[in-house]
Symmetry: C2
């Protein structure tokens, strides 16, 4: 159970590093509203760089959470869409973000206490 070499732990840790990365959850939750083109995603997530959006989408595509559809026209058109696997991830992720929102005050309070103590010691 606690051994990172066993395949279950590795899968969990892989999933966590994916959803734990800086952009995946944001992209998935945006795509939850329906398919988007590349630059639509950029507009809806203004702070993401082109490079990171590409990398994030590739990662999600590799894991089978997002599908990528190319329409070879001029200009080219690429649509990204959640797969059913991607949609099924929404439930657990929402549970987590709801928890974060609900407990935000308590977390910030704890951080404040911790940092105040740290400063006391430093002083």
């Amino acid at each position: 159970m606690k051994d990172p070499n066993n395949p279950i732990c590795r899968t969990i840790s892989d999933l966590l590093s994916r959803i734990g990365d800086k952009w995946s959850v944001l992209v998935v939750s945006t795509l939850a509203g329906g398919p988007r083109r590349f630059n639509e995603l950029r507009r809806e997530i203004p702070s993401v760089s082109q490079r990171m959006l590409t990398l994030t989408l590739r990662g999600l595509e590799r894991d089978g959470l997002v599908s990528r559809t190319v329409t070879p026209s001029i200009p080219p058109r690429v649509d990204y869409e959640l797969t059913s696997l991607g949609h099924s991830l929404q439930g657990p992720v929402t549970a987590l973000t709801d928890w974060a929102i609900a407990n935000m005050p308590e977390i910030h309070e704890a951080q404040g206490r911790f940092d105040a103590e740290r400063d006391d010691i430093a002083a």
Copy 2:
């Protein structure tokens, strides 16, 4: 909603970088079985380094998820324990890990397909 500058998104993203880091979930799930001393945790999670265990525990403590109790004896004794906030996180995290376990085959399959295609193109 998609703006990383708004406090809600920042809290969520902070939470994700905590539970998304390499060790936090492992530590929390170990502590779910009851309080542990520092070296007990090291023994139960053999692959964690001393440094990373310390840093992980500090982070969890700062967020109010774990409490740290020092008994100034010789040798010194320090017990780590989940707070009620820490326990309440177990539910959402379990939902996520259950999802990962349930969908592990499909994810690996998707990765296999993706990597096979990539190799085809490379060849």
